[in-house]
């Protein structure tokens, strides 16, 4: 997908203009735009798109989809982001990202379809090459008992029936409906109530999007760092950590996600499944042996007045399972940043996830303050979070707690954070860049900001280079 510079500017303008009026123009993206664009511009557009999709995701998590206030909040998000609707395709790197992307796009389309005024629906369907036409009231009446008997989505209430439009489409276009006999067929046409049309449109969209993503998979996403390093699953460091070190390690060398999980575990003497997985595997990655892990968790849970037998029965199996000693005997690998950020978001009572991604600004600020990060540092971190650069924000945190200007690596894994931290703290001399500057004076916030923005970008770009280098190898399957 390419945009030329001139055309891109033009597209931008069009986007702005459109957003002055009602943001209901819906695209099926049957034809991709065919101009050239620079990589930076592409990145910027892609980031914009992701911002929107994340807004979709956030709202989807906080509110019931399809009802108020979800609908109006989403509408204002779209306006606020001044979104240009042209970009539909972006690269994908791993299945997680791709699935996430498709899910958010589907939610977005569902929402936008739901706010389409009735007269616009027909046009949208036509433009998307979907051969749907609404039938007249007379035709509807003629087939009332049959349609009501066929469509599970119709309740049968008089008012619902009267207000519901019914569309006549070639049966082959309604595969998912007719195969399960969920629609009335007559002479080769399916008589589909509006509710079910949405399902068909979404399926079509999903199919096309999937196909498009498959085609474009060679373009790596630029807004998340890819993970090309090790996965910290081999237990090279096994046995090098002792259990009584964990408390101090958690404040000195753990990334904030694990730091908060450890704290929650100590305070509540318990963690829910998501937390146990994320933290447990991390501990394995930093070198805990199975015996140590069992002891660690059991000790803590017992403090929470858990019966030791109950622990043995319930939890120890899972711990052994995650070490590959039970069941499938898969040795599970600790979660990467991408995985933590994209999948299984925490709900009430959970402590897992990525604090930069999943905590709101206020809460994050308080946390950072409690970790004794300087106000300037906090400010920069929050800025980065606003720009959805979660891993860069975490790198900033790393720099602040280790008192270095440049962390010297591109963060993509919590265990990487730990490893790099230990490296610095143990005074390791063969690190790549000079990041040990213990007496660095506190720079002025303004300068720092600019510097950090550019170093953040440098980090992004260098990781991009790294990514691009590995591109061929990565895709040679």
């Amino acid at each position: 997908m390419q945009f030329s510079r001139a055309n891109w500017k033009r597209l931008r303008l069009t986007g702005d203009q459109r957003n002055v009026c009602y943001p209901h123009s819906l695209q099926f993206y049957l034809e991709p735009p065919s101009e050239s664009i620079s990589l930076i511009e592409f990145e910027s557009l892609a980031i914009d798109r992701v911002k929107l999709l994340k807004a979709v995701e956030n709202l989807g998590v906080s509110y019931v989809k399809g009802a108020e206030p979800y609908q109006s909040k989403l509408e204002s998000e779209i306006r606020r982001l001044k979104f240009s609707f042209r970009v539909s395709k972006s690269g994908k790197e791993i299945e997680d990202l791709r699935r996430w992307f498709i899910q958010q796009e589907m939610d977005l389309l569902r929402f936008r379809f739901s706010i389409l005024p009735k007269d616009k629906i027909q046009n949208f369907l036509k433009d998307s090459h979907l051969h749907f036409e609404a039938i007249s009231d007379d035709e509807k009446k003629l087939r009332e008992p049959e349609i009501l008997a066929s469509s599970p989505s119709l309740s049968g209430s008089k008012t619902d029936w009267e207000s519901e439009s019914v569309y006549k489409i070639p049966f082959a276009d309604a595969l998912d409906l007719f195969r399960g006999r969920k629609v009335y067929l007559e002479s080769g046409f399916a008589y589909v109530p509006l509710k079910d049309i949405v399902a068909i449109v979404l399926n079509e969209f999903r199919a096309k999007l999937s196909k498009a993503l498959a085609v474009s998979r060679k373009i790596r996403p630029l807004y998340f760092h890819s993970y090309t390093g090790q996965d910290y699953s081999t237990q090279k460091n096994a046995g090098k950590i002792s259990l009584d070190q964990i408390d101090s390690l958690s404040t000195r060398s753990f990334p904030p996600c694990m730091r908060q999980l450890h704290k929650a575990l100590r305070e509540n003497h318990h963690l829910r499944h998501g937390g146990r997985m994320q933290y447990g595997l991390f501990l394995k990655g930093i070198g805990l042996t199975l015996e140590q892990a069992l002891q660690f968790w059991k000790q803590e849970f017992i403090r929470g007045k858990m019966d030791p037998d109950k622990f043995d029965k319930g939890y120890s199996y899972n711990i052994r399972h995650s070490f590959g000693k039970e069941g499938k005997r898969t040795d599970y690998t600790p979660f990467s940043c991408m995985k933590i950020i994209l999948t299984n978001p925490p709900s009430q009572g959970d402590y897992h996830g990525c604090p930069f991604r999943h905590s709101d600004q206020e809460l994050l600020k308080q946390k950072l303050q409690s970790y004794k990060i300087s106000p300037g540092g906090i400010h920069q971190i929050l800025d980065l979070v606003k720009g959805t650069h979660y891993q860069v924000a975490c790198q900033k945190y790393f720099e602040m707690i280790h008192n270095v200007d440049d962390c010297g690596f591109s963060l993509s894994h919590p265990n990487q954070f730990f490893f790099e931290s230990q490296r610095i703290l143990s005074g390791n001399k063969d690190i790549r860049k000079e990041s040990i500057q213990p007496e660095t004076p506190q720079p002025k916030p303004g300068v720092q900001k600019a510097k950090d923005a550019s170093s953040a970008l440098a980090c992004l770009n260098s990781s991009l280079e790294m990514d691009m280098e590995g591109l061929e190898d990565y895709f040679s399957e």
């Binding site: 008997a149 007719f178 002479s187 046409f189």
Partner: protein
């Protein structure tokens, strides 16, 4: 009934293809119109004829067309068919009903169970025509124990495998193998396809199930029916009552009525489904068509051609007249040997009019004529002519064809 000896097949086939095979109709059926080239292998009908007479195929499958020389087993591929375009086909096989027919099993059929095919044709054909809007449907007797359906509409030939599977799913109601007792479950809302199918079955049920099959004849048979009645209906002691009372009645018909009463009494108290649902579920399990999805969904799947000879029975795969489905009797379908004998008899009578060998086969055929044989009433009946002619322009041979491939 004439006996059929497979060993005679090679000789019989020779005669069949020279004198009896209805090339004109067959060719027209295979060539829909100018645009769609069914067989790219033949420049005209006579080439097809020549090739078939040379090969004397003992088996013709459409999809790809194979012809076997019985002694050499060479595979001859007639036609550079396009795999993308293929008729939608259905295969209904009597062995799939073994769990619900008491008279026969596996390859055997009799007049008592043939009604299953009648009902199947009625139900499926109605749906193909009225629900899906398919116009060109050809039903054919398979030659042994079932029927095939060929749907040849242009739009249908282009359907994807997924849509073909979807059609079969739409037409399926009986689900489950040997380990599943109750194979039909209806939901609260009864789709028009289901209710229309039930109405068709109702016309045959009494005679077929309660008389011919006698499904409530004795304890062994009625226990199978009772196994389909859910616990909550039987648990109020009615099951035991039914078992005790059934012997008091004289025949299946009476027992069925009694069973229906018992069910409706229960239903009125516990109504989470439609009233007559259970009755319908039983009827459907015993009568509703069972399709083989693999035959229909595969675009490359082969199916035996109409007018081919079944190698085990010698019977010709003849088309079935939809206007007279109930009258169709598989046991009166001519075998190749009976046909040839008939032909010999005709030739003897017509001696003197034989002419010389120099005459073209076509002419000879018209004279001696399969028109006089048993096959002819089937081939020449009005229903098949229009069907075959309807498919496209008459005998208008497409101009561009490629050559025959012989592997």
């Amino acid at each position: 009934m004439e006996t059929f000896d497979p060993a005679e097949l090679p000789e019989l086939l020779k005669l069949y293809y020279r004198r009896l095979f209805p090339y004109a109709q067959y060719y027209r059926w295979l060539n829909y119109d100018d645009i769609y080239i069914r067989y790219q292998s033949f420049n005209n009908q006579s080439e097809l004829e020549k090739e078939m007479q040379k090969m004397n195929p003992y088996k013709i499958d459409i999809g790809a067309v194979y012809s076997h020389r019985p002694n050499q087993h060479n595979t001859v591929k007639l036609g550079a068919f396009q795999a993308q375009e293929k008729e939608l086909v259905f295969d209904i096989d009597m062995t799939d009903y073994d769990d619900v027919r008491r008279c026969c099993s596996s390859a055997d059929i009799c007049s008592k169970c043939w009604t299953l095919m009648t009902m199947a044709i009625r139900i499926i054909d109605r749906a193909l025509k009225e629900d899906f809007g398919f116009k060109h449907r050809l039903w054919v007797y398979s030659g042994r124990r079932g029927v095939h359906c060929w749907v040849c509409d242009e739009s249908v030939r282009k359907l994807s495998s997924a849509v073909r599977s979807g059609i079969v799913e739409y037409l399926s109601l009986v689900k489950g193998g040997q380990d599943v007792k109750k194979k039909v479950h209806l939901s609260e809302k009864i789709h028009p396809f289901v209710s229309k199918s039930i109405n068709i079955i109702k016309k045959y049920f009494q005679e077929y199930a309660l008389v011919d099959q006698d499904i409530l004849e004795n304890k062994e048979s009625w226990d199978k029916i009772l196994a389909l009645v859910p616990e909550n209906i039987l648990s109020q002691g009615h099951f035991y009552t039914l078992q005790q009372n059934f012997p008091k009645y004289h025949n299946s018909l009476q027992r069925w009525e009694y069973l229906m009463k018992a069910i409706s009494l229960q239903d009125s108290t516990k109504n989470d489904k439609c009233g007559p649902c259970l009755e319908w579920e039983i009827m459907l399990q015993y009568c509703f068509p069972r399709l083989d999805i693999n035959v229909s969904k595969g675009i490359n799947h082969l199916l035996k051609s109409p007018f081919s000879v079944h190698p085990k029975t010698g019977r010709i795969s003849v088309p079935i007249d939809l206007q007279k489905v109930e009258q169709f009797d598989p046991f009166t379908v001519p075998t190749i040997s009976s046909l040839c004998r008939e032909l010999d008899a005709i030739s003897i009578n017509d001696e003197g009019k034989e002419g010389n060998e120099a005459e073209s086969d076509t002419k000879r055929r018209t004279r001696v004529s399969y028109k006089k044989s048993s096959v002819s009433p089937i081939i020449n009946s009005p229903w098949i002519q229009p069907r075959m002619d309807q498919s496209g322009k008459l005998i208008n041979l497409p101009a561009n064809r490629s050559q025959i491939f012989i592997y």
